[in-house]
């Protein structure tokens, strides 16, 4: 028995009333104190949490204000003995309001669960609360805090105490196990979870607890919202998808917000973004043995479509579910002539050497929601890790060629699929655009470039051919390291969403890569940045990244949910059904812009120049998911149609950036579900003639849809198209 469990057990034995309270509560029965003859229960403590202030985005990173998280207390929270255990302080249940310092003293005859209702009448560190939430605490935690039955237990009712209860209910865990699991996930001691954040000393533990508290508060607020609007109980819907009653309970809602649309919450996701290979180029390719092994080890989404052509529109779609009409790789400062008034670059000055640029389509996307700003606004983090990025360069501009930065050519022997290739002694020069701004999803959104996080969250990634040479460069910025990713994996300072961008050789894109041998002036091509060797090189680099992640403390803590996505930005198909799932179909009339809801509630199409040319797709490519969860499904083959737009919807669910009860809370085209399209078909004329409404519409990647018998996939590997449903319907993102 661990110390926490032992402590709780001993204290409970000394306190028959609380022991009974624990047992009766666990059994869902409230035993009045009269049943044991006398007395009552008194608890005191604090209703605590965090006050989060989102970042303020100005015109440039330096002018904005970073987000701030502070430990807080709630005043005017209604603390009660929830006698009927319904997650509400009902009339007749003993309750008190917390004071300005968050403290409360609650006394009653009956041993019952203690909850705190934080409402819009409450104050969070003196600030108005915008959305109510219900905080709970395990009876066992109360028992643990009871040193003597005559003395009030001193407790802290917080988002984390609520999470412990939720975990106990979800997995039927003991209090001790739930506490230790959560503590392990956050790298804190179990005792830290019992404290009000305001009572914690400054340090890493407080940072971890307050960060989690912000995330949990958002989810708990959504749970209360579900209850308030009387969403239908998930258990009822499981039995009958058309059920309209009963309404969801707070306990159900607090579970539901951890699994929105069937997408479980993950702590960290690492996307390894490769380049320009159709499924047929990778699947079972002798040049990609490692990727194929990982596909077999994990789960595969076999009908995954890119949304654009070339790279840049796909990078936008991967974080924003729209490419806004962009169909080239032009720089972020490219825009139609005469539109500088509306599209003007705000984060001036432009990177040195940047030329003015006129383009028929605006490439400086303004005021559009995207995953990066959405994560920041809710107390979470994003990272974009880029390989072979020269230390002196600007993230907004391609890396520049440098003939003085060289590295040995990669040598392969005859036993490898590419055969014996490579030139011993060849010093391969650092090519231009090994770091390509077009591959950096953060570059094309003004609100990301201007955010305080832009410079902090763009980081380096090692494992590249020129690591040593770049490290040896003089005059590097202070603190610069060639492999911040490696350091972050060790420290845990990664984002919730991490996009790993290998350089343009390691990502299978390919660039002109040359060098010379010794003092010779004869220029010779490097061994492996083109052709089949390029795939093999990318396969090895993918393997390097996956092994590195798998060796990290993060991955090896099963209490943290970690996933790796292996994917390509685009395939190569230029005809047929190039895309799906929120794509811009070829029907007429074509969309003139994304659907927007106006302040007066009306719906209209925003007009964006050349919008109708975007979101057309570029075929299917492989998309695999690996997780560190020991009980997660393995070998799932999900052939439902998904796209980058689906991926964005999936991440919005995973990180609770949207509310499934509100279509419009999903960003850009990720709201285009079959139901949404049907409801807004007059404003979405491109879908009016849809012959396959499921294929055309967006859904999260949850494998919930059972493909009808006889349905023939629109694409297949290598040419055989699957007919009918999948072998099983397990969720490729599932954790158990």
């Amino acid at each position: 028995m661990n110390s926490i469990a032992q402590s709780a057990s001993q204290r409970s034995l000394r306190n028959p009333l609380l022991t009974l309270a624990v047992l009766s509560t666990l059994a869902g029965v409230v035993v009045p104190a009269s049943a044991v003859g006398l007395g009552g229960v008194t608890v005191r403590g604090t209703v605590g949490g965090t006050l989060f202030t989102p970042p303020v985005v100005a015109t440039s990173p330096a002018k904005g204000t970073a987000s701030r998280t502070e430990a807080s207390v709630f005043q005017n929270a209604k603390v009660c003995f929830d006698t009927n255990d319904n997650g509400a302080c009902d009339a007749g249940e003993i309750s008190v309001l917390s004071k300005a310092d968050g403290s409360f003293l609650l006394s009653g005859r009956s041993a019952a669960p203690v909850i705190a209702e934080v409402s819009t009448a409450s104050l969070n560190n003196g600030k108005e609360v915008q959305q109510r939430m219900v905080l709970r605490i395990a009876p066992e935690q109360v028992a643990t805090a009871t040193f003597n039955p005559l003395m009030p237990a001193t407790i802290a009712i917080t988002p984390l105490s609520t999470e412990v209860v939720r975990m106990m209910e979800e997995e039927r865990l003991s209090y001790a196990t739930a506490t230790e699991t959560l503590a392990s996930r956050l790298d804190v001691t179990p005792a830290a979870l019992a404290l009000a954040p305001t009572a914690m000393p400054e340090g890493a533990a407080k940072h971890a607890v307050t960060t989690e508290s912000v995330i949990l508060s958002n989810r708990l607020a959504l749970a209360a919202k579900m209850v308030d609007r009387k969403d239908v109980s998930p258990s009822a819907l499981a039995l009958n998808p058309s059920a309209t009653a009963p309404a969801i309970s707070i306990k159900e809602a607090q579970q539901a917000v951890m699994n929105l649309e069937g997408i479980p919450r993950y702590d960290h996701v690492f996307i390894i973004m490769m380049e320009n290979k159709a499924t047929s180029s990778i699947k079972n390719s002798v040049y990609a043995p490692r990727i194929n092994a990982y596909l077999n080890e994990g789960n595969e989404f076999t009908s995954y479509y890119s949304t654009g052509n070339p790279s840049e529109p796909n990078r936008l779609a991967v974080v924003a579910a729209d490419d806004f009409g962009i169909t080239d790789d032009s720089a972020f400062n490219c825009m139609p002539s005469g539109t500088s008034a509306t599209n003007a670059i705000e984060d001036l000055p432009l990177p040195a050497g940047t030329s003015a640029c006129t383009n028929a389509t605006n490439h400086n996307i303004k005021n559009k929601p995207n995953l990066l700003t959405a994560l920041s606004a809710r107390g979470m983090q994003w990272r974009i890790y880029s390989e072979s990025k020269p230390p002196m360069g600007d993230w907004r501009r391609d890396g520049t060629a440098d003939t003085t930065v060289t590295a040995p050519d990669y040598i392969y022997d005859a036993s490898e699929p590419v055969g014996a290739i490579g030139t011993p002694g060849l010093n391969v020069r650092l090519a231009g655009a090994l770091y390509a701004a077009k591959h950096n999803s953060s570059v094309f959104f003004q609100n990301v470039r201007s955010s305080p996080e832009f410079l902090k969250n763009n980081r380096t990634m090692g494992g590249g051919q020129w690591d040593a040479a770049l490290t040896a460069l003089p005059d590097k910025p202070a603190g610069w390291t060639v492999d911040q990713f490696g350091d972050d994996l060790q420290s845990g300072d990664v984002g919730q969403l991490n996009i790993l961008e290998p350089d343009q050789c390691d990502d299978m894109h390919g660039v002109t890569l040359q060098g010379t041998v010794g003092t010779s002036t004869t220029v010779k091509a490097a061994s492996d940045c083109s052709g089949n060797a390029l795939i093999y090189r990318g396969d090895k680099y993918t393997d390097y990244l996956i092994k590195k992640i798998k060796a990290s403390p993060l991955w090896n803590n099963p209490n943290k949910r970690i996933a790796i996505v292996m994917m390509f930005d685009e395939g190569t198909a230029t005809s047929g059904f190039n895309s799906c799932c929120g794509w811009n179909t070829s029907s007429t009339p074509l969309a003139v812009g994304p659907l927007v809801r106006n302040p007066d509630g009306t719906v209209s199409n925003e007009t964006i120049a050349n919008y109708n040319k975007g979101n057309k797709g570029h075929g299917t490519s492989i998309h695999g998911v690996l997780t560190n969860q020991p009980n997660a499904p393995r070998g799932v083959q999900d052939s439902d149609a998904y796209s980058h737009v689906s991926l964005v919807r999936t991440f919005q669910d995973m990180f609770q950036l949207a509310d499934p009860g509100e279509d419009w809370s999903y960003m850009n085209r990720s709201k285009y579900t079959e139901q949404f399209i049907a409801a807004n078909i007059l404003n979405l004329p491109e879908y009016a003639g849809s012959a396959d409404t499921h294929f055309d519409a967006v859904r999260p990647m949850n494998h919930a849809y059972v493909i009808p018998a006889g349905y023939v996939q629109k694409n297949g590997y290598p040419t055989i198209k699957q007919t009918g449903p999948d072998a099983d319907q397990r969720n490729g993102w599932g954790v158990k």
Binding site: R14, N15, P16, L17, A33, V36, G37, L38, G39, G40, V41, T42, R44, I94, L105, S107, G108, R109, F147, N148, P149, L150, M151, P152
Partner: protein, 178 residues
């Protein structure tokens, strides 16, 4: 003239009693939330403390605790109320270590109403009163500086003589009537 024997016996008994019985003390405490506890008890002054406590009556927000009050002190190390019948009470709040409860506070059952004032290195200074019958409850940690323990007013020797004089006059007047 007949000697008023009953009156004289009564006076003697009163004097005896006044010499033998413990001092009556009044105590009171006002919590930070303005809840108020007061009461009386009998005890003997012993330095900073009051010993041999008995006949405890406690009123919490005007309502008297039910039952005969049991008393005990608190063992901070063991985190238990101990020493039934031996409360540690002082006019100095920092020396207090007592509980008054309507059932044995050292037992395993929770009383309906009780009041404690303790000082401990682990527990700190706590004052707590609860009446589960009325729902009144108050807690301070640390205590407010409102603790008061005073001996009830005791008759001075002059007033005793005056009483005896009065009793004598009473006896004389009754004799004249007979």
């Amino acid at each position: 003239m007949k000697f008023p024997l009953p009156a004289a016996l009564s006076a003697a008994a009163l004097l005896f009693a006044m010499n033998a019985q413990a001092t009556v003390y009044s105590f009171s405490y006002t919590f930070a939330d303005a809840s108020e506890v007061h009461g009386t008890l009998n005890g003997d002054a012993a330095g900073d403390y009051v010993n041999n406590i008995s006949d405890v009556r406690v009123f919490f927000n005007g309502t008297e605790f039910t039952g005969t009050m049991f008393q005990s002190s608190y063992d901070d190390a063991a985190q238990q109320f101990v020493n039934l019948g031996q409360a540690t009470l002082s006019a100095d709040a920092t020396l207090n270590n007592f509980a008054f409860a309507e059932i044995d506070p050292t037992g395993s059952l929770t009383p309906d109403n009780y009041f404690y004032f303790i000082n401990g290195a682990i527990t700190g200074q706590q004052v707590f009163a609860v009446n589960y019958n009325t729902g009144n409850v108050a807690f301070d940690s640390p205590a407010q500086s409102t603790w008061s323990l005073t001996a009830a007013e005791v008759p001075e020797p002059a007033s005793i003589a005056l009483t005896l004089g009065g009793l004598g006059l009473l006896g004389v007047s009754r004799r004249r009537r007979t």
